[in-house]
């Protein structure tokens, strides 16, 4: 082994984000760019914990009414915005955000490493719901 480290995930790909939330079976997923109706575009807002409303590009909601918004920034990154929830649901919301980020990272790793000539040789669910992926290539 030669080196290891940590990476902070950044969400860039709208396509992959939508694929990810679809795989996770969230009940409602709205995407502003897809909606032709201007009124609908404007309606895509999320109420934050401070009671303010922020426009988002993607809004996901689960069957418990937990909302998570994704807002595209000027640099192309998507900022995650947590919707207002009751205290009891805060931990669940945090878990849902983690779930989306984890699945997005998993999809991204598989997609991009395959493009670079790697083959995924191992996929495992570990303790504490972590995912392990091992990719290999010969040079």
């Amino acid at each position: 082994m030669s080196a290891g480290g940590g990476i902070t995930l950044i969400i860039w790909s709208l396509e992959l984000l939508l694929k990810t939330v679809e795989e996770l079976n969230f009940l409602i997923t709205f995407k502003r760019e897809l909606e032709g109706d201007r009124k609908l575009k404007d309606a895509l807002k999320i109420e934050t914990k401070d009671g303010n409303f922020e426009k988002v590009d993607v809004l996901v909601e689960n069957d418990e009414g937990i909302k998570i918004g994704f807002q595209k920034q000027k640099n192309g990154q998507y900022r995650i915005i947590s919707g207002k929830v009751s205290d009891e649901l805060k931990e669940k919301q945090k878990k849902l955000i983690g779930q989306i980020k984890q699945r997005y990272a998993y999809n991204l790793v598989k997609e991009e490493l395959t493009k670079k000539g790697y083959t995924v040789v191992e996929e495992k669910n570990l303790d504490k719901n972590a995912i392990k992926i091992v990719a290999r290539r010969w040079r």
Binding site: A3, G5, G6, L9, K95, K101, Y106, V109, A130, I133
Partner: protein, 67 residues
């Protein structure tokens, strides 16, 4: 002979990513780490494992010997 390169990635429940690159010698390993960082987001840190230095040291010794 072809050499095996392996990347091990752990994604936590919170979406935190840890990686381990195996089989790539010296600084080339950092290049792969940087590429990985670009794909996934932003590199927080890169830690060299003892083998990183071992291989570099071996190479240096060899280079010295050749010189």
């Amino acid at each position: 002979m072809a050499e095996k390169e392996e990347i091990e990635i752990l994604v936590s429940e919170e979406g935190e990513i840890e990686f381990l690159i195996k089989g790539i010698k010296g600084p080339s390993c950092h290049k792969v780490a940087q590429e990985l960082g670009k794909i996934l987001g932003e590199i927080k840190e890169i830690r060299n494992t003892p083998e990183y230095y071992e291989k570099e040291e071996t190479k240096t010794k060899l280079e010295k010997k050749i010189k």
